[in-house]
Every structure is written in structure tokens, then in C-alpha cells.
Symmetry: C2
Subunit: 228 residues, 2 copies
């Protein structure tokens, strides 16, 4: 029987790659997405499409009230998303407080219910926006906490492992590996501030990172209709 894993699936380039890698390993994948008041809700449509294409065992979309908590321009309709500045020293306003902790906590609950020994997510410590919850030391601490939190851990029914295969890859390497296992990047959204039709803004950190990576790989970004 294929081993299960819960895959955090945002609908972006990174998580689509993680799902593609898990499928290529032959895992039975349970995709988990969140409606959290994000302004870039088009990513949920992309997540549904990626889950469908990958033939996941189940795709769960949960509501979390991060917009009620606030603290990020990504969940505040009135706040502007800053222009790309990958050399900035402060954590940008696109940071959503404790978002990965909250997402991983839900994934932990589902993994325990499913008996899945692994949670996969697409965080990256190289080409990233400087978020504290994308760092390896955060992941290690989360995994340690997770195995003290659950009945499965305590009763010895198996520990859960937090699997972040992209952690040390460049964005270009992520794309190359994803293409090798058949990921369709035409149906992914990375932009923090797409327009009403779901078109990328081309000016935020995420757009800048993505454009640079496709340029490095030497192919046009298929999400831009091949015109990039």
C-alpha cells in the first residue's frame, strides 16, 4: 500500500512542485488548502486544478480566519502590496503572522486522523521573501513540537515528519525538478496581488522571483501565456 502524505497546497509554483514530487514517489497524497481571506484567492482555483491533475486521494479546503486577526497586507483589502525589493532587510508586509504554524497545525491534525507519517510543504530558504516561518530551524522546532502534541506520537504509533524538499533549492532548480515530473506551471499562481481576472501583477516579490527563475531556466512562464 502506498504510504500517505498530507501536502500543503497553496496553488503556487512551490507547492505544485512538492505535490508533483510526492506523486512521482508513488505516495498517496492528501492535499490541504486554506481559504484565509487572502487577496490572491485565484490561488485556490489553481490548487483545485493541481489536486485534480495529480489525482490526489482527497483535497480539503479549510477556512481559517486570518483576516480577523490581521497584521498583513495580504489579508487586508485596503493595504497595498509592496513592490519587489529582494534586498530589503526587514520582514515585508506580505508576511502573515504565524501562517505556516497555523497551516502546519491543521496538517498535523489531518495527518494524525489519516495515519499519514509525513507532511509535505514547499517552503524555501533560498529564493524567498524573508519570512521567519520559512527557515529550517522553524521546521525542526515544529516537528519536535508536533511529536509531543499528538496521540500517535505519545502512543508510539509513529512519528510525523515535516518534509520540505525545496528547502535548499533555488527557484530555477525547483522549476527544473517540477517540469521533470510533469508539473503544469500554467495552472499555478505565485502573485500576491493578482487582478480580478487572476492575472499576475508583475511587480511584487513573488512575481519578481518567479520571473527571474523562468528566465534562468530559459523558458517562458506558461502562466503568462508564453509571452514572458
Amino acid at each position: 500500500m502506498a504510504e500517505k502524505c498530507v501536502v500543503l497546497l497553496s496553488g503556487g509554483l512551490d507547492s505544485a512542485t512538492v505535490l508533483g514530487l510526492a506523486r512521482a514517489e508513488g505516495r498517496e497524497c492528501y492535499a490541504l488548502s486554506f481559504e484565509y481571506g487572502q487577496r490572491h484567492r485565484v490561488e485556490l482555483e489553481c490548487a483545485r486544478e493541481q489536486a485534480r491533475r495529480a489525482g490526489v486521494a482527497r483535497h480539503l479546503v479549510l477556512r481559517v480566519d486570518l483576516d480577523a486577526i490581521g497584521g498583513s497586507c495580504l489579508t487586508s483589502a485596503g493595504a497595498a502590496v509592496p513592490a519587489a525589493d529582494l534586498a530589503r532587510e526587514r520582514i515585508p508586509s506580505t508576511y502573515v503572522p504565524a501562517r505556516n504554524t497555523i497551516f502546519l497545525a491543521h496538517a498535523l491534525a489531518w495527518a494524525e486522523v489519516l495515519g499519514a507519517p509525513r507532511i509535505d510543504l514547499g517552503i524555501n530558504a533560498v529564493d524567498y521573501s524573508g519570512y521567519p516561518d520559512c527557515r529550517p530551524e522553524f521546521l525542526q522546532a515544529f516537528q519536535k513540537m508536533a511529536n509531543l502534541a499528538t496521540a500517535a506520537g505519545v502512543e508510539g504509533r509513529g512519528e510525523v515528519r515535516i518534509h520540505a524538499p525545496l528547502l535548499y533549492w533555488s527557484k530555477a532548480e525547483i522549476i527544473r525538478r517540477g517540469l521533470a515530473c510533469g508539473v503544469d506551471y500554467g495552472r499555478t499562481n505565485s502573485c500576491y496581488d493578482p487582478d480580478a481576472a487572476g492575472r499576475a501583477c508583475g511587480r511584487c516579490d513573488a512575481c519578481a522571483l518567479r520571473a527571474a527563475a523562468f528566465a534562468e531556466v530559459g523558458i517562458p512562464d506558461p502562466a503568462l501565456g508564453g509571452t514572458a
Copy 2:
């Protein structure tokens, strides 16, 4: 200026006590409750009443989809809540996978947005139902993870502390301390399986623990109309 804290407020006896203690310290309290598909939804009415009485700065009730994840009789309408058995060796079916991790993760987000250096919660390692996420080692691991997860921790704007004042108190001691700071236990719900009118079942673990504690303190449980 009073120091802030985020208080996880379920509407039960323990969390009402924690809120009372924080108020007695002169803290500015931000109460956080969750609608998570729990069958004992009467506890949310109790939480609202406790928050009002304590004069909290704000009371936020967030929706989390734990019922969509499942794995507990507390979030499954069809499943029976087991009769009290405090000598059982296995973790009971009232355990909700990763619930405290998910609640604390939301509290962490709010604490970061508020600039609150402390998160208070009423977990207890003595008179409890055997849940893994009520143990001191879980709390310590969560706190370590939390300070790696947030911008506040990384940028040196202050670490967050997880404060569990009841951790090593007996249920009777919790009640005595709560009474000393004016907690109204008449407006708390501890029962896992109240009836439609919000009346305690009298047979679950939580009812058994509560009844034994009021008996030890030597006063009737005010939530039972003084007839206990």
C-alpha cells in the same frame, strides 16, 4: 500601561480561572475562543459571558474547521462521548487531534499582531483526561517553535511566553484560586456532552473531574444551581 496577554478562553472552568488570574494581575486581556464544530457549543456562550464579566479589551471568536478533519467524538455528531473512566490507559475518544496546537497557533498570530508578550491557557497536567497536548513538554516545545516562527521573535521585538498557571494545580486548587479572584463558576461549562439546554451530562470525564473537585472544595457547583 498594562501588559497585554492573549487568553485562550473555552468557557470552561479552567480557562475562566486563567482569565480571572490574568485580570487580578492587572493585565490587559485579549480573549480568544473557537467555534470548531464542538458538540458542547454552550461553552461559547459561557466564554462570551466570562469575557464580558472580566472586561477584556477584546473577545475574538474564530471559526476553525476541526469537524472537517474529524478524529474525535467531540466534533462528530453521531459519535458517543464515553462515560467517565479516569483510570483508562489509552487516550480517550474525546481527544481532538492537534487541537491545542491549532488554538495556540492562532493565539500566536494574534499575540504577534497585538504585541502581546504572553499567551495564557488553562491546561493542566494533574486532573486531566490524558491528552498529549496538555503536558509541560508539549508547551515547552510549542514556545520554542513559536519564537522561531514569528517576525517579532526574529527581529528581537520580544519573545512570546506560553503561560499555563494551572499546570500543576489540582482541580480543587484551581477552583479555590479562581474563587479568590472572583471567578463566577456558575457561568462556565466543562461538560463534553451537554443537552440541548446546555445542562451538563454528569457522566463524562469532565463532569466527573469537576464534581470531585467541588466536593473536595466543599461547596456546591454553582453551574448546577446549587443542587450538587
